[in-house]
Symmetry: C2
Subunit: 483 residues, 2 copies
């Protein structure tokens, strides 16, 4: 007899090492509190948990875009299209779009596995959406549809990382999918620091410094991750800065992994989204000059369809035999879910002027985006009014990442509680207010600085209460721990 | 300047090593032929490509179960539930079920990320479906909903495999997801051979022999994969055999990874599906005695909803701190798609007696399953009538795996064409008939034996033509190469 029972000492240590703070300890406590509130109303000094830890708009009451859902319902149950009652329930253009999509699916079989890169006709639609966005060609064969952006990121990490001496340059702070994926694939995260003082500026000199330092430690750096608009920082890169980054990747032979899932989320008039592909092409760089992957998702933007798990990556500048390897790995999982694929095609090709749904679609979209901009501003102002707190503007994305200067006494109390100072603060905040935010340590931060990430997603009528609860808590916290 | 352009020599060698024959070379050729037929009708001696390479029923014309799609459409576009026209378009019980599901989703937000294991209420429904199936309790906290079964298998391989000295016992022939996943995670596939002569029998003596041999080679065997009903073999294990397997895993301290995605696909009256959990519990073994993972999918059964990417794993017998690790890895990808989650709950809880849809549901289900049984029999008989071919019965699943005794001259010709003899046969078959099957080498087989896998999924009216095309081709092939 030779039993090898599974223990944490005998599982894959890469799994142990992986961390994902967005659904980490603070969220686990929040779920417990929520259950306690349900079992015993009045048991806490708040009557609901407000999940500001995760970019999950519909969980906080954001409604889906009607046109998108109409098309999805019709594609899920195509026999509706043969019934006369349907025209009373669905817009004319959603019916037309559903027919068009069904005609692109062999046998109209929305329940069949598709091509492993996704349904060909939907990839055509996405490529034409990218062309319309960028003004440069996009090849449907470069599109790989995925169940949200996360599996696409894993696929690229899997391709690039051979061992711990392969490094990936990642911003700090970063979205912890990157650190988690690099850990799971056994590589090395090479950090580059965004400069909080200049609105989370990305300096090429910092990239170069960190690249050289990694090389001198024997790390072979393979790729650069850029998140634009930034998560958790909310910064939107200038086109000039993007050109420098493209130049840097080209010169250093790095794959540019561009997380562009917040491309629709821009809240300030002075900034615009430019895809890295557009920037590279406008510099005259083509497929031969730079390897570039752009990640997009249906979970963000104004649509926020997180639960649908749709997304794609556009893979350019890779040799044909590498592309075959990416296809092969995709094929092992057969394909991404078809509803997510359809939604990705809709997001990149929403209703156009003249379509029956166009006006209501625009009203829904603009209502959500302008409300997000207002919410971002109110929370930013609230954070900046707090003692010892500074917060850069959310130019884009869905988050604020305020810096909190914690009193030494609080840091000491955190040490006594065997927890990081920012996690200490976030747990106290949760217990006092029901507001769930994520400690900065989950994203990375300059040592001895402390932050947290807070989404701007609570519904607008709740924002004042969130701001006042935060303010009240912070005052009490500072009063308790002020040096 | 230090460019590190990506080549096949500098990517992760585990990716290079991974193979997935179900969408491999033969399928690539088929896609080319299909394009040629479209561009130039009449350019080949057949007018359509018949994809018998993959268990993708709806791609070959199988219709979805109406009730399931009704519920999905209503959940996709819940505002339909407020409209009076809806009652004319949907069954009463689909409307009731949609309400019930929506009530289980916080905020009725089908577009929100769920708990990383899946929506709690849907896991309750699945657990109660498992209890009804097995007669033993199932804990919703043991259920992890996934985008089809494949990601669940990857997750377990990722947990179990630390290096190439960790081994996973897999049947030969096997479904190549297992070999691909083991390769991607850098482990060692420890083969055990199913006995073709006894209907692909699984002998515990063979398991023991291969386990000991692996151990003596320094491989630490961590888990045993069993596919029941079998893919590609179609065998259904007897309960007695399953008890021996459970006993073996318990004694040797192996995790039992039970691929039970074909649990609804049984075609012979003398066999029944028994889940490994039911078998283990009926032996008196509980959570403390054996670590057992059961994989289920919405892609197979009579429903065949491959494109929806729904599935789950039921994880039992793992310590709480290991379960936390599985949860953590799930949380990095946030959650599986909600439509797939809903469908998984429906598949485990279809309409019941008294529900408005019950009769039509039964008619659809039984029509598909009895037709599959007839198709399996016709194809099995056709294969067995061919010179040098023997084919075990498909007791279950969706495949036949005939053995072809190839003439030496054919083997020589294959060698000259630098291809495996079974792949040579399959490519010739494709070029002559348009029928796509997968060479046995993609699944593994006893050396010097040759097979292919053929699904039983073409619609019933096409089966005679498939059989006669296969027969005609085989005669010609043998005439050409007979020794």
């Amino acid at each position: 007899m030779d039993p090898t029972p599974l223990t944490v000492d005998t599982i894959n240590p890469k799994v142990l090492k992986c961390e994902y703070a967005v659904r980490g300890e603070v969220v686990t406590i929040a779920q417990r509190l929520q259950q306690e509130l349900k079992d015993k109303p009045g048991s806490h000094p708040f009557d609901e948990i407000l999940y500001c830890n995760i970019g999950n708009p519909q969980s906080l009451g954001q409604l889906p875009i009607t046109f998108f859902r109409e098309v999805l319902a019709l594609c899920d149950h195509p026999s509706l299209l043969d019934k006369s009652e349907t025209s009373g329930l669905f817009s004319v253009d959603s019916i037309e779009r559903a027919w068009k999509i069904l005609d692109q699916i062999p046998g109209r079989a929305t329940g069949a596995y598709s091509h492993s890169q996704g349904i060909s006709g939907l990839r055509d639609a996405i490529a034409s959406g990218i062309e319309a966005r960028d003004g440069f060609p996009s090849d449907p064969n470069d599109i790989f549809l995925t169940d949200g952006a996360s599996p696409a990121v894993h696929m690229m990490m899997q391709l690039l990382i051979r061992s711990e001496s392969d490094g990936i340059l990642c911003p700090i702070p970063q979205y912890p999918l990157y650190s988690a994926s690099i850990a799971l694939h056994g590589g090395t995260l090479v950090p580059y620091y965004l400069d909080e003082a200049t609105g989370w500026g990305l300096e090429v000199s910092e990239l170069k410094k960190q690249l050289d330092s990694a090389k001198s430690n024997g790390v072979s750096v393979r790729a650069l991750v850029v998140i634009n608009p930034g998560n958790p920082t909310g910064q939107v890169l200038s086109e000039e800065n993007q050109r420098q980054i493209v130049e840097f990747c080209k010169k250093e032979g790095l794959v540019l992994l561009a997380d562009e899932v917040y491309q629709e989320n821009i809240y300030v008039p002075e900034k615009q989204f430019h895809s890295f592909k557009k920037v590279a092409r406008s510099m005259g760089y083509g497929q031969e000059d730079i390897a570039l992957v752009s990640f997009q998702s249906v979970s963000k933007g104004y649509y926020g369809e997180c639960g649908k798990r749709g997304g794609y990556m556009e893979v350019t500048g890779f040799a044909a035999n590498i592309r075959e390897q990416i296809y092969k790995v995709s094929s092992v999982n057969l394909c991404s879910n078809i509803s997510g694929q359809i939604l990705a095609s809709l997001v990149m090709n929403p209703p156009k002027i003249g379509d029956e749904s166009y006006q209501s679609y625009c009203a829904e979209r603009d209502g959500i985006l302008s409300s997000l901009a207002r919410r971002a501003k109110i929370l930013e102002d609230a954070f900046n009014s707090l003692e010892g707190v500074t917060c850069n503007k959310a130019e884009g994305a869905m988050y604020l990442f305020p810096r909190i200067r914690l009193p030494r006494k609080a840091i000491k109390a955190a040490g006594a509680a065997n927890t990081a100072p920012d996690a200490f603060y976030c747990k106290r905040l949760l217990n006092a207010t029901g507001v769930v935010v994520v400690p900065g340590s989950g994203f990375g931060q300059v040592p001895e600085t402390w932050h947290f990430r807070c989404t701007i997603l609570p519904q607008e009528d709740k924002i004042p209460a969130v701001a006042s609860r935060l303010t009240e808590f912070h005052k009490g916290f500072m009063d308790e721990f002020r040096d």
